[in-house]
């Protein structure tokens, strides 16, 4: 929001936010007519001040949706999106006309993060970082309209989006253990390929195993701060010079088209269900309606495509390390720590007023962070809670966190997803040239390759919030615990 002189005008939503306790702010239902629940923002004063003004309006629009339970939540890395804010978490009760919204998941269905360990130390990798990143750059396609190496026909693609990651393992593009280290074991069971359009399939059929662009990346990192040795060890990180690899990408053109198709359907059908929304991007359908169920089944196909995409990329990463270090990937300890989704809707059981209830939880730019005991977690993590991966900007580093019971009480088991933008792409591009940024990063010890220098400039570190501030807010609230901090040394930018 601007007053015409370029200054930011404080929005009414921001003014209405009341501090409940340290790092928690509520916007009461009296703020806007039609709000069914309050908005709740998790942020430090500093992060509140850096949030763009539209966040408050978007969050309170979400609070107006039918069947929303308890709060419209906003994570500390939030920035405005369309419809939902990015960093939004909302749960809906299907028994109270609760809805599912394609806009509440976003266009990049199951955009997510994957973290891989190695037994290599920084001193082993530094001398070969150029060769390593150049090879990864060639083996994991990135950028506009990039194609992967898999050659599939439409029928085979339908099998892939139904089976998810286990298809990859069957084809030799992964290890058995990768499956339990992926959210939903890399396969959402209610996926139904009959619910996706041919157009969506045509957009995605050549793109499995590709990064795409925007803020997507593949990064070689060094563990630098171990905050909890015991849990870090369970996650496979034992020393503070250990090399890890992080991947951030989603369901590519296939998922984008599924979202577009169902946004149009929801927009056209909403009035039949008597639903009105404050923003067309909030278009939704009752979960228990044909359109709601169709979207849920199609979204699951896109989510599976994203799991496959990241699994195929993991395969290529293992191959690359094997080649560059002339050692088999298993001898290099290249285990998947976890794969998390941060744009997704799921049916989950949560406690509402002391009673267990099935809810439709939307996480848009937010990560599931289940604590111990949840049946959704693989046995290896069920006793301690799940690993949570937060990717920072290319320049500032990333975090591995632990999910907690407190998260289940506070946020439907959710936390932040990254550092969150504070500056528009257009502005970032005006402030730095991609070629200059590449040189500056290399001086700082980060070797980066990109197919788009303008895209690189848009992703400059100064365009993002400080990730440590985001992580600290959720750590102090006990929602997600800091386990390991990771620092980048090489990056393939999408």
């Amino acid at each position: 929001m601007s007053n015409g002189t370029g200054e930011q005008v404080r929005s009414a939503g921001r003014e209405a936010a009341q501090k409940v306790k340290e790092n928690v702010y509520d916007i009461p239902t009296s703020f806007k007519s039609g709000m069914n629940v309050p908005g709740r923002i998790f942020a430090s004063q500093k992060l509140m001040d850096s949030m763009d003004e539209q966040v408050f309006d978007q969050l309170t629009n979400v609070a107006c949706l039918p069947g929303i339970v308890k709060f419209a939540h906003c994570m500390p890395d939030a920035h405005s999106g369309y419809g939902f804010p990015i960093g939004g978490v909302a749960a809906f009760d299907p028994d109270k006309n609760g809805v599912i919204s394609p806009g509440g998941v976003g266009f990049d269905i199951n955009c997510g993060m994957r973290l891989i360990t190695t037994t290599l130390a920084e001193k082993d990798v530094k001398p070969k970082i150029r060769e390593l990143i150049d090879t990864l750059f060639n083996r994991v396609p990135a950028g506009v309209g990039c194609k992967g190496f898999l050659k599939l026909n439409a029928g085979q693609f339908k099998d892939v989006i139904q089976a998810g990651s286990k298809w990859c393992v069957e084809q030799g593009y992964g290890w058995d253990e990768d499956l339990e280290r992926t959210e939903d074991s890399g396969c959402i069971s209610w996926a139904n390929p009959d619910k996706v359009s041919d157009r969506a399939i045509q957009r995605g059929i050549t793109q499995l195993g590709t990064l795409g662009s925007g803020n997507h990346y593949l990064e070689v990192q060094v563990a630098q701060d171990i905050f909890d040795e015991k849990i870090a060890k369970k996650f496979g990180i034992t020393s503070n010079d250990q090399i890890c690899v992080m991947v951030h990408c989603g369901s590519r053109g296939f998922g984008h088209q599924v979202a577009t198709d169902y946004l149009k359907i929801a927009l056209a059908k909403m009035k039949d269900y008597g639903i009105t929304v404050r923003d067309p991007e909030l278009s939704c359908a009752p979960f228990n309606s044909k359109e709601g169920q169709d979207y849920f089944a199609a979204m699951a196909c896109a989510a599976n495509a994203a799991f496959v995409n990241r699994q195929v990329i993991l395969h290529r990463i293992r191959e690359t390390f094997q080649k560059v270090f002339n050692t088999p990937a298993d001898d290099l300890g290249m285990h998947l720590v976890y794969d998390v989704a941060h744009n997704i809707a799921k049916v989950e059981e949560h406690k509402v007023d002391g009673k267990k209830k099935k809810l439709i939880v939307h996480r848009k730019g937010a990560t599931r962070c289940f604590g111990p005991g949840r049946k959704e977690l693989a046995p290896m993590y069920r006793d301690i809670g799940q690993p949570v991966i937060l990717g920072g900007s290319m320049e500032t580093g990333s975090y591995l966190l632990l999910g907690t019971e407190k998260a289940l009480e506070e946020t439907w088991g959710s936390t932040a997803h990254g550092s969150g933008r504070t500056m528009s792409r257009t502005k970032a591009k005006h402030m730095v040239r991609g070629e200059d940024l590449q040189k500056a990063m290399e001086k700082k010890g980060i070797y980066v390759r990109t197919v788009s220098y303008s895209g690189l400039a848009e992703e400059a570190g100064f365009a993002y919030k400080p990730i440590s501030e985001v992580v600290d807010v959720m750590h102090k609230l006990g929602i997600s615990k800091k386990i390991v901090g990771l620092r980048p040394i090489g990056n393939v930018k999408g």
């Binding site: 419809g83 990049d108 506009v144 157009r199 045509q202 662009s213 053109g253 278009s283 788009s452």
Partner: protein, 140 residues
């Protein structure tokens, strides 16, 4: 001067632009050019391949939304990026467009953003003092 401009303050993470045109044909062409320019430097593209698009929608906003989605579709499904666009819309809102460009070539093209989707966020098509105006946010 192109009849479109990229906007700040509309969207933090995505790409927002405003396009104008003396008539609907020019408006659609300029909106398409804004998208084409954001995905690659147009001077680096040769007009080797021609694609024809035919669409119909009584709602002019929906017609623009669908048309802009075609550009994204060709980029993903056929790896095509375009340099030029020609649009003809009849009174009954039938659109026939011709896009000229070529297959993506990493060595030749100076590439920009991989466009994911046309959003309905603050999406506007309206008559202006002299012709037409639209505002579009693209998810990238």
């Amino acid at each position: 001067m192109p009849n479109y401009k990229f906007l700040e303050g509309i969207s933090v993470a995505d790409l927002a632009f405003e396009a104008t045109g003396k008539d609907l044909n020019a408006l659609f062409e300029n909106a398409a050019l804004a998208m084409l320019e954001s995905q690659a430097v147009l001077e680096t593209i040769s007009p080797k391949v021609t694609k024809k698009v035919v669409l119909e929608n009584k709602d002019i906003g929906q017609l623009l939304f669908d048309f802009l989605n075609e550009i994204i579709y060709f980029k993903d499904a056929e790896q095509l990026i375009f340099k030029t666009v020609k649009v003809a819309i009849t009174d009954s809102y039938k659109l026939v467009a011709e896009l000229k460009g070529e297959k993506i070539d990493l060595k030749k093209h100076r590439l920009g953003n991989d466009l994911k989707a046309v959003t309905m966020h603050k999406f506007k098509v309206e008559q202006a003092k002299t012709g037409w105006k639209c505002q579009v946010v693209i998810d990238i």
